[in-house]
Amino acid sequence: MKKMLTIALASAITATTIYASDIIKGSGASFPYSVYQKWIKAYNKETGIKIDYIKKGSSKGIKDAKARSVDFAGTDKPLSPKALKAAGLYQFPAVVGAITMGYNLPDVKDLKLSRKAIVAIAAGKVKFWDDKVIAQANPGVKLPHKALTFVHRADGSGTTYNFTYFLSKASKGWRKAYGAKKALSWPGNQHIGGKTNSGVAALLKQTAYSVGYIDYADAKNNDIKMASVENRAGNYIVPTLKSFQAAAAKAKLDPKKDFYSIIADPKGADSYPMVAATFILVPSEKPEINKDITKFYRWCYTDAQEIAKSLGFVPLPKELITKIETYWDTKGIK
């Protein structure tokens, strides 16, 4: 029997050495994971090219890219041109996603949440649903006098980062006290946490009188009601692909600055405020693999737009794609 095991072990090791890996490896941000995953699957079917993307979070993605242990990395937080130069990385945006305020209120439809209300909820200041801060924006809606439960992510995530980034833009107080974080110790005592966006979705569905931030795809797939959110212009915007696109159109992503910019809370009367772009980092010294990666993303930008839309992600605007193409060209990775 031992002989058998030795043979098995030996053959496993030889198999390993013979088998050369031809997979393009990526890691990082979990926020765009679902759309990357679908893109990768569809791309594999069409071209046979193997790409693997592991969600580890943006900060580990950045680390991996710097250590060159992956071929590309995803990050929700762009690196500054200075940091990119120091690490020998190129950067370009991949896709725009949106975060919604999902809620579970029996008998209430079309809830509107002001910026102030969202900050107050996240800060644990809202005890009951009929609180003034919520009621103000919802005249004519009969809000129940029930305890409000705030649902958030329990694990570190780009979704939390983008949500708290929006809160920081909406409130100076929030910005001073908490800032933009991938994970934080939520204040108040009426909150519960779920692992991953689906965990949050499950909690929202299960818990009556709850409200929480969740990416559009998970909310939509789980039939969770989504509130209209007050944007910078003071309008209440329903989360739809169209309002996300309106927001994305306002994004100021400049190739000269390696697209270094966060697009949350854009201007524009029709822009949905809680949007986020997510970025790709590639090492500058590997043009050959980079060309394969940019080829993949070109395909994502153009041929695979429908996949992104089906998950509630916004394909990048045409002008931006042209800018990215030029950026690739000048960096020699097109």
Binding site: T6, A8, Q37, K41, N44
Partner: protein, 268 residues
């Protein structure tokens, strides 16, 4: 009065047995309904990238197989030491430690392997996952070997020695042979246990969408993928998670039953 108490107690005990079985039946029924509902034979033909489970099932077997290839010989030889060679304190200490290690939280072993292999090598790898499983398996094999060898009658050993055989010959040719069935069963049960583990693999091997034999990279794992799939937004992913759970359970139970069948056959 005595008879009444007797009846009550026996009734309560039967009732609790029924409650326990009802719970466990409920889980199995759920698993079968949800799992079979999304089960299809093409799951065995496609990799996860194409909506199948082939690479995951093979990957899980490879991980557990390598773990067994490391854990079984080491565990058996260590068990032999405790039972046959060890005298006094040291063997007793090892026996106790091995017992304790059997109950060590699997996630702690994952964290340990993460620190000693994943961090120095710069990334998750199938190799790290297999080592974590091997560490889980080692004490179980030691324990089984130790117990089974202790059942072999002393006379057998003495007879061997009397015939002039050296001690290790006696152990390998006589004692192990006598305890073979029991040890094999124990090993199969140990294998069934580690092949269903998730926690030690979470940050060591992770998982992969593709078929892979490259142990230096993230390696496809059925259990880790179940956890990921159960957390993905689309219903189709969750259905796949249930199908994978169903396959995993059938697999574990089959190995388990095989072990038992083996014992029964050899005994009769």
């Amino acid at each position: 009065m005595r008879l009444l108490i007797n009846k009550i107690v026996l009734g309560l005990s039967t009732l609790s047995a029924l409650i326990g079985l009802a719970f466990l039946g409920w889980i199995l029924v759920t698993l079968f309904i949800k799992g079979l509902g999304s089960f299809h034979f093409t799951l065995f033909l496609n990799d996860l990238i194409n909506g199948g489970l082939r690479n995951l099932i093979i990957g899980q077997f490879i991980l557990a197989g390598i773990a067994a290839a490391i854990g079984i010989p080491l565990g058996m030889v260590a068990g032999i030491y405790i039972q046959e060679y060890g005298r006094g304190k040291y063997a007793e200490v090892i026996r106790n430690l091995s017992d304790i290690m059997m109950s060590a939280p699997s996630i702690v072993i994952g964290a340990f392997v993460y620190a000693i292999i994943v961090v120095p090598t710069g990334g998750t790898s199938g190799f790290a996952g297999a080592i974590a499983l091997a560490i889980m398996m080692l004490p179980i094999v030691i324990n089984t070997t130790d117990n089974m060898l202790s059942l072999v009658p002393r006379e057998l050993r003495e007879a061997g020695i009397a015939l002039g055989a050296s001690k290790y010959k006696v152990i390998i040719d006589i004692v192990i042979k006598a305890a073979k069935v029991g040890i094999m069963t124990g090993i199969l049960l140990a294998f069934a246990r580690i092949i269903g583990e998730t926690a030690p693999l979470l940050f060591t091997s992770e998982t992969s969408n593709y078929f892979s034999l490259d142990l230096t990279e993230s390696f496809p794992s059925l259990t880790v993928s179940i956890y990921d799939l159960a957390n993905e937004p689309e219903q189709s992913s969750r259905d796949l998670a249930w199908a994978a759970s169903f396959i995993l359970t059938v697999l574990v139970l089959t190995i388990n039953l095989a072990g038992r069948f083996f014992t029964r056959n050899k005994k009769s």
